[in-house]
Every structure is written in structure tokens, then in C-alpha cells.
């Protein structure tokens, strides 16, 4: 090996890695700055009371974003109610219960499912899911928050399964053996030892699942009916709703650059950004609080 060439590499490569690391931070900061620059003027152009009112009808200058926020929230919560039990349950099945050969088949299948474009799933939602819901629940239309929640739940499941399964699988076999040797049953071992040992990974899975749900645009736009109605009652789940993402996607193309409407759409993006930030911070603070430093280092 020529030492001269090595020196050159030693000089160059760490700097390249450093530069790409810093640029990731820089890009996020730039995106945030851009959102702020385009979104904040909305606060000056629309009165705060109007902005957080319940009427979204931009053509007549009604820019109430509350229906959109509640629409996103109800769908996210609904989707999580579907995806969490299914996702974690499937992950436990694959990591702890299923024989090795079955896991080898299931895992790639689940990951394949996770790679399906959401527009394809939205198509299925329109053709299969929403007609079924309309007939089954006797609703005026099947394009409801429920359809969106079910579909998004389905979209989030592969993400949750894949990551939670990795986390469970990474728990050393000796943990399980130790629990069994103490007289724990298989289920007690999973619930009290394996899951807690994998909790940071499982929580990451849940987080990414929520992120996937709240940020999903195409599928929700196709199946939720897109009516900007305030969704506060429990029965709202059976009505059409409109999410923040769908609104931005549907209207951004037709809006005059620099108009009030344009700024409000960016403001919605800002709200979305802040919501996912809160979810992230909340989750990581749970992980960090419940773990002592030594435990974090080892896990």
C-alpha cells in the first residue's frame, strides 16, 4: 500500500462524511426556514380567530384549518388503533412464535407490502373497501374517515411489523432462556422480558408508523371523501373528512403564488411539521426517561 495515497484518502474521506452529515442538518434547517417564510405571513393576512375557525372554503376567503387538523387526527388515531395491535402482534408472532422457515417467508412479504405505492392501495380502497363499508354499515357514502383509517392502518402495519420484528429479534436468546428457566411461560416471557428489552426499537416502529400515517397523502385523498367538516364527535368516523396533507396536495397546484391561500397552505404544512415534531419528541423522551444511562449504552 502506498502511504501517500492512504494519507490523501485519510484526509479526504472523513471530510466527505462530515460534509454529508452537516448537509443533512442544513437541508432540514432550510426546509424549516422555507416553511416559516412562506407560512408565517398567513398569520398576518388572516385573523387568528378566522384561521382557527371551522370553515374551510378558500374561494370565499374562509381559511379555517380546524376541520383539516381534526380530520388528520381522527384518521391517524383510527389508523393507529388498527395498526398497533396488528403490527405488534404480527411482529411478536414472527419473532417469537413462528418457526424459522415461516419467518423467512413472511418477512420479505411484509417488506414487499410496505413498498407498495400508496396510490395502488388508494385504488383498492376506492374499488373494494369503501363500497364494502357503504353496504355493510349502510352509509350514504363509503368514502369516510373510517375507510381512510382502515386503509392507513394497513399501510402502517408493514412499517411497524418490520422494525418491531427486528427489535424483538435482536433481543439475545439468553434473555428468553433465563426467563424460561425461572418458570415463566412463553407468553410471560414475551410480555415481561422480550418486549421490554426491545422497547426502544418497538417504540421507534410505532413512531415511524404514526409518521407514515400522518404524512400519507395519496391514499387518504382517494378514500376519505375530502369534505372539510369538523370531526369532533365519535360518529365523525362515519363521515367524510379531509386531512391536512390532502388539502395541500389538492390545492397547491391551483393556487396563485404569494396569495393568501398560498400562504395558508404553507401554514398548514408548518402545523403538520410541528405535530410530527411533537410526536417524535414525546416518544424519544419516553424512551430516554424510562432508561438509565447504563441501560441505554447497552441496549
Amino acid at each position: 500500500m502506498e502511504p501517500k495515497k492512504l494519507n490523501w484518502q485519510e484526509f479526504f474521506i472523513p471530510r466527505l462524511i462530515k460534509a454529508s452529515g452537516y448537509s443533512a442538518i442544513l437541508f432540514v434547517a432550510l426546509i424549516f426556514f422555507f416553511l416559516l417564510r412562506e407560512g408565517l405571513p398567513a398569520l398576518g393576512e388572516v385573523k387568528l380567530g378566522d384561521l382557527f375557525s371551522e370553515r374551510w372554503y378558500p374561494i370565499e376567503s374562509h381559511f379555517g384549518v380546524l376541520p383539516l387538523i381534526t380530520g388528520s387526527l381522527i384518521i391517524t388515531v383510527g389508523a393507529m388503533l388498527v395498526a398497533l395491535p396488528f403490527g405488534i402482534g404480527t411482529a411478536i408472532f414472527m419473532a417469537e412464535v413462528a418457526p424459522r422457515w415461516m419467518r423467512e417467508i413472511l418477512k420479505p412479504l411484509v417488506e414487499l407490502l410496505g413498498g407498495l405505492p400508496s396510490v395502488v392501495l388508494g385504488f383498492l380502497g376506492i374499488l373494494v373497501l369503501s363500497p364494502f363499508l357503504r353496504v355493510f354499515l349502510d352509509l350514504p357514502t363509503g368514502l369516510t374517515a373510517l375507510a381512510g383509517a382502515l386503509l392507513l392502518g394497513g399501510i402502517a402495519v408493514p412499517t411497524i411489523v418490520s422494525i418491531a420484528e427486528d427489535a424483538l429479534d435482536a433481543v439475545p436468546y439468553s434473555y428468553r432462556e433465563a426467563a424460561w428457566a425461572m418458570g415463566a411461560t412463553r407468553w410471560q416471557t414475551i410480555w415481561r422480558v422480550t418486549l421490554p428489552a426491545a422497547r426502544s426499537g418497538v417504540l421507534t416502529a410505532v413512531m415511524l408508523g404514526i409518521g407514515r400515517t400522518i404524512g400519507e397523502t395519496m391514499a387518504v385523498m382517494m378514500v376519505t371523501g375530502n369534505a372539510p367538516v369538523l370531526a369532533l364527535a365519535l360518529t365523525s368516523i362515519f363521515h367524510p373528512v379531509r386531512t391536512m396533507t390532502a388539502t395541500i396536495a389538492a390545492e397547491m397546484g391551483e393556487v396563485a403564488s404569494g396569495s393568501v391561500h398560498y400562504h395558508v397552505l404553507f401554514f398548514i404544512g408548518l402545523v403538520l411539521f410541528i405535530i410530527s415534531l411533537i410526536v417524535n419528541v414525546a416518544a424519544s423522551s419516553v424512551v430516554f426517561k424510562s432508561k438509565k444511562r447504563a441501560e441505554r449504552v447497552l441496549s
Binding site: 432462556e177 425461572m182 415463566a184 421490554p196 441501560e295
Partner: protein, 264 residues
């Protein structure tokens, strides 16, 4: 060692565990242990030693049926614990594992506090009374000589303890369950000499009340701790005798060679 002329009652008076003609196989059919017959005495340390791959750990894992979950299966034979065949499919495995505790080569502390590590097994068994749990924590930690080091921080995460402390915690966890037999699979392999000394000292104390079966991590440890010693070589029980006798006057050439370090 023939058993025919000994009545079962007399057998039990001295032997906690009687292993009769036990053979083990891996699921692919290769042999792990061949026709092992061995009596394990109560209130003594029985050491199973020999080179790696000799089937010691497999034998140990038969005694609490932990083999059920691995790729080693019992081909034939019996293991009598207090006269009952624990290999019988009808055996309550959970109850068996409470009676036969185990300490592993690598200390496995559960992802909980020190206190919870000790009470977990009892809670699984349905014990809810706080006073009993507290009592078990203190008893376990005192018996494993860990009490003085951790009594002021029982609610700290167990994983923050040092390696030696973790291993004694694992021993304490087993003791808190008040088992009758304790299996130790190279319990000191990851420990420094001082920690090893502490664990060995604890074992010498414990044998007054428990039946201990130890797979040591070295011949020296086998010689230091054994009341009875069994030498395993490639799935075969080569020699079994009182520890002193076996390490000073081995009867079989292969045992002698191994003890003196000519192979292994």
C-alpha cells in the same frame, strides 16, 4: 454403578437426582449424550466437566427441561427427581423450573430494577404479599453475598451492576425462588478471579441447603469445588467419583490425561 440391589427409598435418601441410561440426540440425528447413568447427591456440589462439546450443558438443560425449546431431544432414558421421572411429558415444566433453578454462563439480568429481578419469578408464581417478596429479595441477596453492595439501591436498573455483581444477582434471583436444585452452567466464565472467588464461596455456603450441579469453566475450578465429579468426553460419561478421589487418583487413563492437561 449398579442400582438393582438398592431399594428406591434408600436410593432417594442420598440421591436427589437419578439419571438412568439417558441418551440425547440433536434433531439432525447426531448423538449428544450416550447412555448416561449418574446419581446426584443432595447437599453437595456435583461437577460435570470435560472438553467442550461433551454434552455437559445439554445434560444440565435436561434437568430443567430447557432442552424442550432447543434442537436437542431426549432419545431414551429417565431422569428421576425425588423419584419422579421429569422427562415424562405430563410433567409440569413450569413447576419443575421453579424447583430446579439455573444460572447461566453469561449473566442475564432482566431489563428491570434489581428488586424486580428478584421478585419476578415469585410474582410469576402468583406471590403478591409484599412482605414475602421483600423477604425473598433480602434472603436471595444475602445468600449470594451481594446484599451489602446493593442494599441501598435496590430500585436501580440491574444492568448497571458490574459483571460479577450481575452474576451474583442471577444467583440471588434463583435463590429467591427457593428452589431445591441449582444448575450452574459455567457461572464464572466471564468473571475476574476475585468475583469468581466470591461466587465459589457462596456456592460452598449454599450446598448445606441445596443440591448444586456445576459445569465449571476450568479443570482448576472443578478440582476446587467438587464434592463429586463426573468427567464427560464426547457424549460419554468416562468417570464418576468423589471429587478428591477423582482428581488425585483417576481410574481411567483419559481422565488422567485431561486433568493433567495432556489434551482438551
Amino acid at each position: 454403578m449398579t442400582l438393582e440391589h438398592v431399594t428406591p427409598e434408600k436410593l432417594m435418601a442420598e440421591n436427589k437426582i437419578v439419571i438412568q441410561n439417558l441418551s440425547l440426540q440433536y434433531t439432525d440425528g447426531t448423538e449428544s449424550l450416550r447412555d448416561i447413568t449418574l446419581n446426584i447427591r443432595a447437599n453437595a456440589i456435583t461437577v460435570l466437566f470435560g472438553p467442550a462439546g461433551g454434552g455437559k450443558s445439554s445434560l444440565l438443560r435436561c434437568l430443567n427441561r430447557l432442552n424442550d425449546l432447543t434442537e436437542v431431544k431426549v432419545a431414551s432414558g429417565k431422569i428421576l427427581l425425588d423419584g419422579e421421572n421429569i422427562l415424562d411429558p405430563k410433567t409440569d415444566v413450569i413447576a419443575l423450573r421453579r424447583k430446579v433453578g439455573m444460572v447461566f454462563a453469561r449473566p442475564v439480568v432482566l431489563p428491570m430494577s434489581i428488586r424486580q429481578n428478584l421478585t419476578y419469578g415469585l410474582e410469576l408464581a402468583g406471590e403478591k404479599r409484599k412482605s414475602r417478596l421483600e423477604e425473598a429479595v433480602e434472603r436471595g441477596l444475602k445468600l449470594s453475598a451481594l446484599w451489602d453492595e446493593v442494599k441501598n439501591r435496590l430500585d436501580d436498573a440491574a444492568i448497571a451492576l458490574s459483571g460479577g455483581q450481575q452474576q451474583r444477582l442471577c444467583l440471588a434471583r434463583v435463590l429467591a425462588q427457593q428452589p431445591e436444585v441449582i444448575l450452574l452452567d459455567e457461572p464464572t466464565s466471564g468473571l475476574d478471579p476475585i468475583s469468581t472467588g466470591k461466587v465459589e464461596a457462596a456456592l460452598q455456603e449454599l450446598k448445606k441447603d441445596y443440591t448444586l450441579i456445576l459445569v465449571p469453566h476450568s479443570v482448576q475450578q472443578a478440582a476446587r469445588t467438587a464434592d463429586f465429579a463426573a468427567f464427560f468426553l464426547q457424549g460419554e460419561l468416562v468417570e464418576y467419583n468423589e471429587g478428591k478421589e477423582l482428581f488425585t487418583h483417576p481410574k481411567v487413563k483419559r481422565t488422567e490425561d485431561y486433568i493433567e492437561g495432556r489434551f482438551g
